[in-house]
């Protein structure tokens, strides 16, 4: 305890630090969180623009794009590979974990900072430079990586220099995630304030806790695989190259004997847990926003936490359901079908618990609440469309078609991204001390959810018809896909509309700079968790709390019968309205 009290004062010294130390090389988890947030949003926008260019090509193949000319297959393939990489590794994960995790977790558990502040800073800078390497790869000879975001060898092994850049970029990004994961685990285990037992931790913290374990355990195999592929490319090894390959330049001069399937196993051993890295923090945000806006506790909180842990563990043994058509054998396929069926159950539980939470509530339809409510059915579609993909017989016809694209975009785009917007609208007042405009927020919500559905739903139908993914002409060469190709124009217009509907969001962010948008009260949403109740200042000052909070109760004690107050924050001492024990302790 003594350390906790001393630390905030020590930290004040850093207030005098110069610009670079304060905003760029900061060790304050809140500044790092905001750095992550701004960088990730910029990457999301960039990845989205790549997609708009691809959708232009799909709607009208070969028609010239202003300032860019007609999209060649090489460009389309680069954009496709980089869209996936950027959205997943440079957009959503940094926003969900880097930004929200960093900013909110220490506040919610009553810690003055992350356990390793300098490691935290290093983690952001590895991420930043990883992103710079990825962007720079567009400018090397023959452009960026174009072997898909999955980088399957042998194609990736023999691809152009952009692929080497992709691998170096991934190595930096993975290093960043590993440093972050260790930091989150240590912080949550060691720095919970007095009284903050594991089951008093808000659901969001639980989600970040499980996510950190996934990152820590799943990323090292991909980092190793990345180095092996680098060795194949730069040192003429053949980890992923079988003997006897022939390319346009003649027989490949390598020793051979490697296995292309090895890469797929190592890649998906990361990339399936990665799916949960994308979705768990989103569930965490939605849970916070739902509890706060229904003004009641989460229904089945413990069951939700157990489901979360179960999801985390199971996510390590489902990876090969991405590989049913590689011919890996019926016995292995059977195992992975069973685990995949099982993993659907905890997701169903969490989703239903969140919906049942609405029952009996006194629901405020705030902007974050709209986004959180939008997440529920969208994630539902994402999950349900995944069922046929988890079973080999139905996966076989649908694999590598637009059905798969539609499925995982429902999980990640209208799913996770809506939840991330909920998080932005929810914590923005705390992060900046400014409020966002409700009307612009509502326009942003309705525009986004409708246009996203118009983009992704037709993909499911195109996929059923058999249209493959990663076709630079969108399937124009396939006569049979003709009846479903006409949707492409509609989908591309919807994508443009989605872009237009982000304008109110950007305008909203800029308008919040106005002086009259200052937040009037510290606990803007009347929330029970420490991030709102124990931080008297908005934005929160370095060191977070004036006095380290003491936790007395469960995370969501809204509208407790007989309490006489609308909500009991976690740091509110039992049966009194006066100063909490923690305060008394400090005064004494």
């Amino acid at each position: 305890m003594a350390d906790h009290h001393a630390a905030p004062h020590e930290a004040h010294a850093e207030h005098k630090a110069g610009f670079w130390r304060t905003y760029w090389f900061s060790t304050d988890h809140k500044v790092i969180g905001i750095q992550y947030g701004i960088t990730a949003l910029a990457f999301l926008l960039f990845g989205f623009i790549l997609m708009l260019l691809m959708r232009w090509q799909l709607a009208s193949p070969g028609v010239e794009i202003p300032f860019l000319g007609a999209l060649t297959p090489e460009m389309y393939n680069q954009f496709g590979a980089m869209h996936g990489t950027i959205m997943v590794f440079l957009g959503i994960v940094p926003l969900a974990v880097g930004a929200f995790g960093n900013y909110v977790v220490p506040l919610q558990i009553g810690a003055i900072d992350m356990a390793f502040p300098r490691l935290n800073m290093a983690s952001y800078h590895f991420f930043f430079w990883g992103g710079v390497v990825m962007l720079a790869s567009f400018f090397v000879p023959q452009g960026a990586a174009k072997a898909g975001w999955t980088s399957y060898p042998p194609l990736a092994d023999i691809e152009t220099m952009g692929q080497t850049m992709w691998l170096w970029g991934m190595v930096l990004l993975i290093t960043s995630s590993l440093l972050g994961a260790i930091n989150f685990i240590t912080t949550i285990v060691q720095l919970r304030t007095e009284g903050m037992t594991y089951f008093r931790m808000p659901f969001f913290v639980w989600a970040q806790f499980v996510t950190a374990f996934l990152l820590l355990l799943a990323f090292p195999p991909l980092e190793a695989a990345g180095f092996l592929q680098l060795a194949d490319r730069l040192l003429d090894t053949s980890f992923f190259l079988p003997s006897g390959l022939v390319t346009a330049d003649g027989p490949l001069d390598v020793s051979g004997g490697g296995s292309p399937l090895l890469w797929q196993h190592l890649f998906w051993f990361l990339a399936h847990p990665e799916v949960y890295v994308l979705i768990l923090p989103a569930m965490g945000i939605v849970a916070e926003v739902l509890a706060n806006n229904t003004r009641k506790p989460l229904w089945g909180f413990r069951l939700m936490v157990y489901s979360l842990i179960f999801l985390g563990i199971m996510s390590f043994i489902v990876w090969a359901h991405h590989m049913f058509i590689t011919g890996m054998g019926t016995a292995i396929s059977a195992f992975f079908q069973v685990t995949t069926m099982i993993i659907s159950i905890p997701s169903v539980i969490i989703l239903s618990a969140l919906i049942i939470t609405l029952r009996g509530g006194s629901i405020r339809f705030t902007v974050p609440m709209l986004f959180a409510l939008g997440f529920l059915p969208m994630f539902g579609i994402g999950g349900l469309t995944g069922l046929p993909l988890g079973l080999a017989p139905t996966d076989i016809p649908l694999h590598d078609t637009y059905y798969v694209i539609g499925h995982f975009h429902y999980v990640v785009a209208p799913g996770t991204i809506l939840a991330l917007f909920a998080g932005i609208y929810y914590w923005f007042p705390k992060m900046t001390g400014r409020t966002l405009n409700d009307t612009l927020g509502k326009v942003h919500f309705w525009g986004t959810i409708i246009s996203m559905n118009c983009i992704f739903f037709p993909m499911l139908i195109q996929g059923l018809a058999g249209v493959s993914r990663r076709l630079f002409d969108g399937g124009l060469a396939y006569s049979f896909s003709e009846p479903v190709l006409e949707y492409n124009m509609f989908m591309s217009i919807a994508a443009a509309a989605l872009f237009v509907f982000q304008v109110p969001f950007i305008v909203n962010l800029i308008m919040s700079l106005r002086k009259d948008r200052n937040v009037k009260k510290a606990n803007y949403w009347d929330a029970t968790t420490l991030d709102w109740s124990a931080t008297p200042l908005t934005p929160v000052a370095h060191g977070n709390f004036e006095t380290v909070p003491h936790v007395y109760r469960d995370p969501y004690e809204y509208s407790v019968p007989g309490s006489g107050v609308p909500f009991l924050s976690q740091d509110m001492a039992p049966q009194d309205d006066g100063p909490s024990e923690a305060t008394i302790e400090v005064v004494a």
Binding site: P73, P242, D249, L261, T326, G327, Q337, T394, S559
Partner: protein, 311 residues
């Protein structure tokens, strides 16, 4: 009209196991739609019924209910058990080829397919008899490919360095699209072929026709090879530029190369362009032609050169 209807859902089924795959898919689809509509209706009703009407509004306490919690585990568990057991039976059918299946060898390379039949006949479209199980034994010369026949619900990755297998039994005589569905590089989108389903007799007749007699001239044999080896995927015969130059009027013309040199397309140039295509690239094209043709028999190269010369 018929085609519109097909395209909305899964393509019209044309293999023995496609029907059972579709039934399983539609069962999952219908169950999912019912669940989804139920859940979303519940959500909307809750959201509307329990909206905040005034600032003094207080929530109604809802007790945790072990029965509901248990049922949320049990009901999905029963459903997934059903689809798993059902699905597994279908999967075994799809995975295990009947012992009497006719074997066809498939070779994939960037960006064409080559099918080889028991009688030594080769083609770049897959020809099969109706009502007889066919087993494909597949390999790739360069990168990953994946053979996909939407109408049969058949899909299998083709992997360099090892054989993979797929099987099907066609139920209708027709021509169906066949394509590569694993991203395989620049021209992946064009790696397209078809399955021609013949009657039993028609298939035998096709095999006979495709076997060249000993009296065929080199140019005739070259023409057959042009189709069988998949040259037509990149080189047209009517002057249309493809991934590679058209063969129309190619012979004896002067060719300009990307390295600035020029040469007349004589026998020696044509031979080199087949067995070592990367040496000189015609201006306006990329070095995309596979080097696999270096392994052709000398007679086959002669035949192709003769065919291009005469064309």
């Amino acid at each position: 009209m018929m085609e519109d209807k097909q395209a909305l859902w899964l393509p019209e089924a044309a293999s023995t196991y496609a029907g059972s795959v579709d039934s399983l898919f539609y069962f999952i689809l219908v169950t999912s739609v019912i669940l989804f509509v139920g859940v979303v209706t519940t959500m909307v009703v809750f959201a509307w019924r329990f909206r905040r009407r005034s600032a003094a509004d207080r929530p109604v306490p809802v007790k945790e209910n072990k029965v509901i919690e248990a049922s949320w585990i049990l009901v999905p568990f029963i459903l997934v058990t059903i689809v798993f057991i059902w699905g597994f039976r279908v999967f075994i059918t799809m995975s295990v080829a009947p012992p009497n299946a006719m074997e066809i060898t498939v070779r994939a390379q960037k960006w064409s397919w080559l099918f080889e039949y028991p009688e030594g006949v080769r083609s770049n479209a897959l020809h099969v008899p109706v009502g007889r199980p066919v087993k494909l034994k597949m390999s790739s010369a360069d990168v990953l490919h994946s053979l996909y026949i939407p109408a049969f619900r058949t899909k299998q990755d083709v992997i360099p360095g090892r054989y993979t297998y797929a099987w099907f039994e066609a139920t209708r005589q027709d021509t169906f699209p066949l394509m590569c569905t694993e991203y395989c590089g620049q021209q992946h989108s064009t790696m397209l072929s078809s399955v021609v389903v013949h009657s039993q007799d028609g298939f035998e007749a096709w095999l006979q026709e495709s076997q060249l007699g000993t009296d065929a001239s080199p140019a005739e044999r070259g023409e057959a090879l042009y189709t069988q080896l998949g040259c037509l995927a990149c080189h047209s015969l009517d002057g249309t530029p493809g991934i590679g130059p058209s063969f129309e009027g190619l012979a004896a013309t002067e060719r300009a190369f990307t390295d600035g040199t020029r040469a007349v397309a004589d026998d020696n140039y044509l031979r080199e362009a087949i067995v070592a295509p990367a040496v000189r690239i015609v201006e306006g094209y990329d070095a995309l032609m596979p080097a696999t043709y270096a392994t052709l028999e000398p007679e086959e190269v002669d035949a192709l050169v003769a065919f291009i010369q005469e064309h």
